[in-house]
Symmetry: D2
């Protein structure tokens, strides 16, 4: 059994890690860390966990924790993981669900408005888009777990870009997300009466996931990629749909396009490619799947690639656990065979 | 006082006409037509109208009705208005909220799968995008009221196209709609447990509003326009947001762009152009407004135009009433000064 | 024209007053008061009001305002109205939408945890349940507008109690409310991800509307009434349903019961009594109606009385405007003929 | 491994059985039956199951199926299970999720409007309220799985009644349910635009779960129990909350009351009794838990018992699987350790 600690135990990312780890045969949750709630029973604060976990919240003493566990998960606001990882002197696996290690120093400081992790830590960090980066993930000590929008977007676009099926310089990406991606912290944008019966386009041109997507698209394309990207908040709790509009290269057919995606993901259990039709978010609700479907518009030669994930699972805690499995040589699906909850 | 009849009295379009007409000083609702409910009190079937209307449902006898009223509104499924209008021998105004008169004969038959209205009726019909087509609307005897997606899309794109600010051959249009646009008829797509907590991209490449949008964009552009267009069903009852992605022409600046839109709509009470930020659907809920805002992405030279309407008001019954006012020389705002219901 | 001021201009109560007053022929909104936003255009903060109101927010200087207007509406948190009314030396009408003047000194201090208004002000205040207290309302200078749950509950129960149809000592009242009743202030209870797809029973035994209901039930019954009362938060924005369970007195028949309610409200435009079936909240959405329906269970001799209102209209701003009309000798319905928004 | 068949494979009950059985170590889903879809891949019709199940839908040939499996689950409309069970000549376990075997012949025929199962089958059937009826369940060949409202109601009331803490003749039960309880069949009541932003009290006095609750309350109380019972449809997909109002017997204290419930359920893993506060439906979402909490109102001596379940899990498929485990001598929790999905 591997022992893990979860830092940030009062947020949705941590709660989802706890849920999924119930199904994992090789994990013991040794510590759930929330300094502000130290000593309180987790199940007192979260009654849905009564009978599920018996932990009390622990204070954050990183080196003490690191001595006791094999892996530390950070489901924390930006800035926390980097400072803890820098302070940690023990040999332990770090899996960071925040954005701290996803960008270059310059981009991180520009988009997050915080000072970047030190060079050494940053250079060690591996970007954990599991399906694409598996070999590097397997050796990672600092795992930088992708953001929710980047996960759904990159899985939708990378095959098309790597196989030279679509133009890298003409990408329009329209995202729709449920509200839980904003976490448990309250704001007017997540206030029920403001969000219910409403669609809002938010953070246009300012979303911190833009540089993350561009960075990894560029890396894989071998050239600079600039995207047009929007995000819309819609009245539901879980789920992300990315509607990606690409320009087909000459000679690419619908059949060839779909076949290339099926080939690209043929070994992957968590990416389900549709031969016909496009997926809905409810079809992956609560699960670690990313479903992808297509529509090709011949007159404009545009392909519409629709990908869906549960933002709290494949877009956060599920992928973190998938990376944990890869890092520890376990079956990649362990703890993640929960089917979608439908309806 | 002008007398009107509403055909299709058991659908949402008719109900919304009834609601708005309560605020109209020059309208008497002479007849609400639903053959299947003939003789039943409207307020028995729709208790929310108790104390509001005292009508009973009438049978559909078009020439009898046409003799008694000044204007007939059709809030009916495709195919009904054209057959009634063809059968009508009286001199009366017809306002059709369905798609019967929106397309050319060829397109109508291809996209609706029904035989088109006869040539004479079709040639008389005026497309009632009120803000753009006011002079023709003023003289119309057969008014073809625009679809919900076309209304929000055309109001968002026409100034940019007519003022040569954006490329007509590179338009991506991503629509999000509440469920009421599908009407009161039940289907799996509008079944609560399927639609709640879910986003669905539907009718990709097959939506009958595509040729309608292309027709009027082309007309105004003076050249053929082909669009990439998607629609997404999201879990709310009312509201449409169109996120339109255009390519800016050389030399166009953000300030110039917004200024052109403000100028274009400066006389229009129902189109509200934002100088900063983009609108949300809740900001027009229950009202006849179309709000439009912008974001310009310099690196890709794309402009994101976001327009919102209430699909049942500006997208259907409100615009129909606006057209009625124009056709009858009344104040365009009569009956339509209902503010948005917020929150 | 009568001039009014609205204090508390950044909350939902104030926004709803502004919406309804657009339809009122005798009101000019002279001032919208929000000290924290002084000088800002109301329509900048609330873009849905662009083109609707041109006011800027004013600071709160009660005697200056009172000199300029006929009536001041307070849509403020508990404690504000009483201190302003006490400080006001001008002769002006006060309409308080908060709880400051609804309870006896003792009860107010016990349930609200604030010091009560001074004796003089408290004794002048008239409880504005419009349908029941019309004569006193007509003469009021300080009008205490009822709470949302009390409005729906009292209208449901008073005819049964005043006509001795139900037992005053056996009342179970189960309330369901949308989230907007909690206002615009953020809390975990109104956080979207917590409230969506969830029902919560809250403030059991502690809701400040309990003593308000008991006070006016007791007054009308002529004896002490103690109720069993619960409130449930459900995932919608607007609407309250009260399901009230009463014990029928001997000899009371279903027909007689319904007839008594019809008789009781026969002159009232805003209370709609059903002869068959029970109402849904959507049937009064956005309107000032209270709809009431019944089911009698012969075996247990219990009557189930279901009443519904829009909490922001009849439960707050609509009733306040209705009271304003009565206080000023205007048609009680002025500004309130907005039909329900359905669906 | 035990082989099972699921009859009714296109409904929500069957889908939920499939989901839960993925976590069950001793079950092989041998057959998923839907005559109308015979031969189609289950995952074609339900893409959320792609990669989860490889079955195709089978036709309904009950004796053929019965020969091949150990247990048949019926997630079918009323009337189907009884006719199949009567036609079955093989020795096999039957678990019926419909109402066919829940009532006496007379009550079934009166409330369901169908002819009752034959006497022999009816007398063999065991009512599967797992926590209360475990010994009988262990020996059952025909298991009648309880309805959703009865499950939540009986678990809330039985301890109070069996321990003589509350009056059996004064019970008011107010239920709130999500929409999925109505299944996948479309109707106006489950049409999104009618149900969203709405609460409806439905089937007052006519709900077929009333005689089911009264039957088992009476059985356990040893005397006739008549209840006052209402159900409300609220805008969410999953979840039931029962707010039960009982009259405390003399001498019963809050502490004693709660203690009695804790004692009653001390061995039960799926019933979680709260010592403070009351549960919300989201706290059991997707899981087999029933959470129960209390509030006592001293002045009226009423106790408010709040119970919550997921209607598709503990209210249907979860409890069916729990009964399957008991019937087959397996760990009662097998396949049911899925934690609530929160948020």
């Amino acid at each position: 059994m591997l022992k893990v600690a979860i830092v940030g135990g009062t947020g949705y990312g941590a709660l989802e890690l706890i849920r999924l780890m119930q199904h994992h045969e090789q994990i013991t949750i040794h510590s759930i860390v929330s300094t502000s709630e130290e000593g309180e029973l987790v199940s007192t604060r979260y009654p849905h966990l009564k009978g599920v976990v018996t932990n009390t919240f622990d204070a954050l003493d990183i080196n003490k924790i690191a001595k006791e566990v094999d892996t530390i998960f950070y489901a924390t606001p930006a800035g926390v993981a980097k400072s803890q990882i820098e302070a940690c002197t023990e040999d332990v696996q770090h899996i960071d669900l925040s954005g701290d290690f996803r960008l270059s120093k310059e981009d991180y400081e520009a988009w997050y408005g915080l000072s970047a992790p030190d060079k050494d830590a940053l250079s060690q960090a591996v970007y954990g888009l599991s399906e694409v980066n598996k070999d590097a993930v397997a050796k990672a000590k600092i795992l930088s777990n992708p953001g929710c929008f980047p996960t759904a977007t990159l899985l939708a676009l990378l095959p098309g870009i790597k196989e030279s099926l679509i133009d890298t310089q003409d990408l329009v990406i329209d995202g729709k997300t449920g509200v839980s991606g904003a976490g448990r912290k309250q704001s007017l944008l997540t206030h029920y009466s403001e969000t219910n019966e409403n669609v809002t386009a938010y953070k246009l041109g300012k979303h911190q996931h833009i540089p993350e997507i561009e960075r990894y698209l560029s890396e894989q394309a071998g050239e600079d990629v600039a995207i047009t990207f929007t995000t819309h908040l819609i009245p539901m709790t879980r789920g992300i749909m990315m509607t990606c509009y690409g320009k087909l290269k000459d000679g690419v057919t619908e059949e060839g396009f779909i076949q290339a995606y099926k080939e690209f993901y043929k070994e992957e259990k968590f990416v389900r490619v549709r031969e016909t039709g496009v997926p809905s978010t409810s079809e992956v609700y609560g699960s670690n799947y990313c479903d992808i479907g297509f529509h090709i518009h011949e007159r404009t030669r545009r392909v519409i690639i629709v990908s869906v994930i549960d933002n709290l699972v494949k877009g956060a805690s599920g992928q973190a656990l998938q990376n944990f499995n890869i890092m520890n040589g376990l079956d990649e699906q362990m703890g993640l065979t929960v089917s979608p909850v439908y309806p």
